[in-house]
């Protein structure tokens, strides 16, 4: 390589020019391809959202959002599903958030790099990689059968909590990392203990970032289907849940049921689109809030 460049300096201007142009052209072609790749992602999102809105918005009205399904789920609304999804995802985060924050605090504030920390991280990474249907099997074997919780909100929420734990740990750790080291040193220099520093200085500063993580965990739990299929959700239940041990309906499972096993699959298409639209508005809404909130936070931290 080096030899070539020194050669071309003096020898031949004639060779150099097409060479230059070739380099420019290949760069141009490659960069266009990279741009196309990025555009394809945007298009995919747009197309999916477009079709759901186009086919779904007509189904959505006040009755749809506030009534139970009727006539073996061919008419009526999806209120029980909305309530069910809210119960499940809030329950999941209520379970996973304290554990997630505490794990993140240990990993970021206390643990020293070494074998132990590596093992804990390996555990978290592998938990994040466990397929959602395996969480369903686990929930069925452990919460439903072994702990005798039955098919219930409690089993479903705990299963989803286990699934969203890695998301929450990751986000909380990022929030802790964003707290400037000088804050901790200032607090320690004033004579505060480590715990006082974490409790009074680090956590309040990191709280907005941790909340972002909680929102992401919430949206993750709300969208999952496979983990609740065997642990919490049922085809149809006419009443709203009154206790943690009730079985419930949920938006993602409702979509699946209507689209694959409903009584009149073609006739209930608009209900399926409507339910899917409600679900993605819920989830993309939560994510957008988290993304916007986080980018604001980052801007503030940099200042």
């Amino acid at each position: 390589m080096r030899k070539k460049t020194t050669d071309s300096n003096s020898k031949s201007i004639t060779i150099k020019k097409p060479l230059q142009r070739g380099r420019k052209v290949s760069q141009g072609v490659m960069f266009i391809m990279f741009r196309i790749a990025a555009v394809i992602n945007g298009l995919a999102l747009l197309i999916i959202v477009y079709f759901l809105i186009k086919n779904g918005w007509r189904a959505i009205n006040w009755t749809f959002l506030t009534q139970s399904p009727m006539d073996s789920m061919t008419k009526g609304g999806i209120l029980p599903c909305i309530v069910g999804t809210l119960c499940l995802s809030i329950g999941a985060v209520a379970f996973a958030l304290p554990i997630g924050i505490a794990s993140a605090i240990y990993l970021h504030e206390y643990a020293r790099p070494g074998r132990l920390m590596r093992i804990i991280r390996l555990g978290i990474n592998n938990l994040a990689g466990v397929p959602s249907v395996i969480f369903g099997l686990f929930g069925l074997a452990f919460f439903v059968t072994w702990l005798h919780f039955g098919v219930s909100i409690l089993s479903g929420a705990l299963t989803l909590g286990a699934l969203s734990l890695p998301v929450i740990i990751g986000a909380s750790e990022e929030a802790l990392r964003a707290v400037p080291q000088t804050y901790r040193e200032a607090s320690l220099a004033l004579g505060a203990t480590k715990w006082q520093t974490i409790y009074k200085v680090v956590l309040p500063t990191a709280l907005p970032g941790i909340l972002t993580g909680a929102i992401l965990g919430l949206s993750r739990a709300a969208g999952e289907t496979a983990p609740i299929m065997f642990t919490a959700a049922v085809f149809f239940t006419p009443r709203l849940p009154t206790s943690l041990f009730d079985e419930i309906m949920a938006l993602p499972y409702h979509i699946y049921v209507l689209a694959t096993a409903g009584t009149e699959i073609e006739q209930t298409r608009h209900l399926q689109y409507g339910t899917a639209l409600v679900l993605i508005v819920l989830i993309l809404g939560m994510n957008l809030v988290a993304i916007i909130y986080r980018s604001r936070l980052r801007g503030r931290m940099l200042l």
Binding site: Q27, M30, I48, S103, T193
Partner: protein, 297 residues
């Protein structure tokens, strides 16, 4: 009083430590219960017949518990979706980290994140009602619910994983070595593929493996879109039934603690081992070939 404070601090540290073990505990419980509920099937069939048996007819009399078609379907779906998702994901990552201006980056990154946030059941639904009829008429095939459709949908689920992790890796390549390459007269593109990509290769590899792990374990998409036939696929338009789809579709109808029930948990074990292997390899690469500034080249 000082001693009190010291003891209290130790206590708090230990409390946090024990909570931090929760993830491992859950992982351990998952393995434990998969094995408790899955192993009894091996009293009925041998491990070899289970893994390599070509027929999966769990409800016929006598039942056949061979999951080879399911494994083959899972591998085929994963391979095909990766061949679409890897170029797309890595190229988007390069675009984001190297080419895009700050403003475009701030626009495209959230799009990728939102793509990651789309619930799998919605993507599966989209594949069923929009993509399947389209494929059916475009290619004149008997069913649009097939291996190709499922791979296409899965690709869009693993692109965000591949993209965001490789983007981190590419973005963290140090400025000096890029400048050094540019100073030697290389174009931006030459710098990208001769310097930046080799320097971030471990990160990109990790991203690819995690993306594949996501694809093999994804359930709702393959359940709704793959077609559901327990055949060993011979063409990309064959309907198939990957492992997660079998578990999700059959668990509701399998009688509690019957052979069928045990067999589904055993499929869970195999699936778990696949993803565990993927994750371990990814973790190993990420640690062994860690990017440490300019020292990587």
């Amino acid at each position: 009083m000082l001693k009190d404070r010291y003891q209290k601090e130790r206590l708090i540290k230990n409390i946090f430590f024990s909570i931090a073990l929760a993830s491992i505990t859950i992982l351990f419980l998952i393995v434990l219960f998969l094995f408790i509920e899955g192993v009894p099937i091996f009293k009925v069939v041998s491990i070899k017949d289970f893994l390599f048996g070509k027929y999966w007819y769990p409800t016929s009399e006598p039942p056949d518990f061979g999951i080879f078609p399911l494994i083959a379907a899972s591998l085929a779906v994963t391979a095909l979706s990766s061949s679409l998702a890897i170029p797309l994901g890595v190229m988007t990552a390069i675009y984001l980290a190297e080419i895009a201006t700050y403003r475009l980056r701030e626009l495209v990154k959230p799009i990728v994140e939102l793509l990651a946030a789309l619930p799998s059941v919605v993507i599966g639904f989209f594949g069923m009602v929009i993509v399947a009829p389209f494929l059916q008429s475009a290619f004149g095939i008997p069913t649009g619910l097939n291996l190709f459709n499922a791979s296409l949908m899965l690709a869009f689920m693993s692109v965000p994983t591949i993209c965001s992790i490789s983007e981190d890796a590419i973005y963290s390549v140090s400025q000096e070595i890029k400048e050094a390459s540019l100073a030697l007269g290389a174009t931006h593109w030459q710098t990208i593929y001769r310097v930046v990509i080799p320097a971030s290769l471990s990160g990109i590899t990790t991203a690819v493996i995690l993306g594949m792990s996501r694809a093999i374990g994804e359930t709702m998409v393959v359940l709704m879109v793959a077609g559901g036939a327990t055949l060993i696929p011979t063409s990309i338009f064959d309907p198939v039934r990957p492992m997660p789809a079998s578990i999700a579709a059959e668990m509701a109808e399998a009688p509690f603690r019957s052979d069928h029930y045990y067999a589904l948990f055993a499929i869970g074990i195999i699936l778990f081992l696949f993803t565990l292997a993927f994750n371990m390899i990814a973790d190993h690469i990420a640690h062994k070939y860690k990017q440490v500034g300019t020292a990587t080249l």
